[in-house]
Amino acid sequence: MKARVTVYPRREILDPQGKAIRDALSRVGFPDVEDVRAGKSFEIKLSTDDPDRANRELREMCEKLLANTVVEDYSVELLS
């Protein structure tokens, strides 16, 4: 089973990278861009086929390592 985990800065926390990217986008001709959050994406291959178990483990991975929940949020998506 494959999954995608996305980790991004929490809304209430200033994201210096996202802000720099937003400014650069508006400089190269995309004035409609209001906000950018720059995060990370992980593609994870699991040996289990049980979606409940996969979901539970992926969330645990985020809490323990993949995200720092003081400043980051995460989402988990099962792909197949």
Binding site: I13, P16, K64, V71
Partner: protein, 239 residues
Amino acid sequence: MKAGVVVFPGSNCDHDAYHVLKHVVEQDVTFLWHQDEDLQGCDLVVIPGGFSYGDYLRAGAVASLSPVMSAVKRHAEAGGLVLGICNGFQILLEAGLLPGAMRRNQNLRFQCRDVFLRVERNDLPFTRHFEVGQILRMPIAHAEGNYEDSHEKLDRLEAARQVVFRYVAPDGSPAVSGDLGAQWNPNGSARAIAGICNEGGNVLGMMPHPERCSEEILGNTDGLGLFQSLVESGVGVLQ
């Protein structure tokens, strides 16, 4: 006092910390490997600066899960002294030994320069050689020193007097906002925080490098007081 300096793959200030402890303040000191689970009876554990595990994922994230950190956690819970400098501070945050987290510097640049710090308290084993309000000049060298936490948690940190060092202008003026903030808070850190301790006061994390300014030959000895404080405290523990 016996001190241990932890070595991770990618640590690069481990020898500097070892040198100051061994040759400047003349203490018993040993290196501790990241795979070690035994702290060899050290009174003080130093988590040095560097780029442990290449800063992969987040600065300090992978190092915080290494075997030696379980031993460091037990040492800290038992009241043992732990000092984290730069990447060491980031590791202590990721390990949950100190509250909050680091973000990328606000201006997105690696900052390598001298900064000025105000000592906020001198009743800690790390700061007893300083005066409250004393201004120290120390070098920094980091890209992720922008300390963050929620407003409520920052308020709690302040109320519990856990802010130990704060970035200020050379004359001691606050560098929290405005022009002075932009100039003298090098990374956009919340409330100009440069170093914090845990509630018990036995774990200190700081972004500036006291081990790089503890000898006359380096042109600055403002960091020496921190190591002298530790020597006094460490001896006290042994007695």
